[in-house]
Symmetry: C2
Subunit: 166 residues, 2 copies
């Protein structure tokens, strides 16, 4: 079947890539969480700020842990990769942050050398999700009340048949 499907509602993580100005590599948009901000909200906000595209959070795909990360003030850095669905498609990007910003075919992104190892792996993961269903790659989110504080937390894990998403 075609590896370049038309715009479905679940294609943003799939086809969306940024080139950052400093190096000629395609990268996914992203950035730092504000205090008290949920993972998915950070992803949606950063994608909008960097590209002008509005989107919805779908799932968590991957986590990278890196120590002594230059952008993390010498602390360990947790970089969390989310899958989003687009609500709009027009790109309006900041030329100070990147050279180009395009909807790039996922199959091309999975093949190119002009990217990072993480982007290649996530692209392959998304291609797999397109073919087998995203439930094969997703960690879905559930919001649960903390037992003693009464506050809510967000729990991400593989979805099970016997625990339907609330």
């Amino acid at each position: 079947e075609s590896r370049l499907p038309g715009f479905a509602t679940h294609q943003i993580g799939v086809r969306f890539a940024l080139v950052f100005q400093t190096k000629n590599a395609w990268k996914f948009p992203g950035g730092l969480s504000d205090p008290g901000e949920n993972i998915g909200a950070t992803a949606v906000r950063e994608v909008y700020e960097e590209t002008g595209v509005r989107s919805e959070f779908r799932s968590l795909l991957s986590i990278r842990q890196q120590h002594n990360h230059p952008g993390a003030f010498g602390m360990s850095d947790m970089y969390i990769i989310c899958r989003l669905s687009p609500l709009t498609y027009d790109i309006n990007f900041c030329t100070q942050e990147c050279l180009r910003c395009e909807w790039l075919p996922l199959a091309e992104l999975a093949q190119t050398n002009a990217t990072t190892p993480i982007t290649t792996r996530i692209s392959r993961l998304l291609l797999h999700g397109l073919e087998r269903g995203f439930d094969s790659i997703d960690l879905t989110m559930e919001e649960l009340p903390a037992v003693y504080s009464g506050m809510f937390y967000q729990l991400y894990h593989r979805q099970l048949p016997q625990t339907p998403k609330s």
Copy 2:
């Protein structure tokens, strides 16, 4: 089939639970990362410190994000749940940290009310993994070199058939 298999090499996350003294609830052992410490190393160290059981890291299962967590100094807390394999089975626990520490049958842990919602969900996830294979629930780890710094980072995601674990 039996839900209480004999001790295989991959049963620690499955059968191992702690009761903390303050509340009468079964919980998995765990604790805070030291600076520069990998997720899996923290899990292995904390399990040893709290229970005396030696183990190996297998995979990442779940992430919880909680804001204004009391134990996180008012910051947002990222709680990461790992699957470990036991290397030893004898329990030697600190009576200051918990009342009891036992190898609890996973099926019992998945059913009991004397636990937290997270422990119940993870127990169900592990039962599912026992029945269908842990590759249905695992996020496996790969260590990759950072492109520019030459340092290594750890990347966790669903395993794909076409990207065998290095």
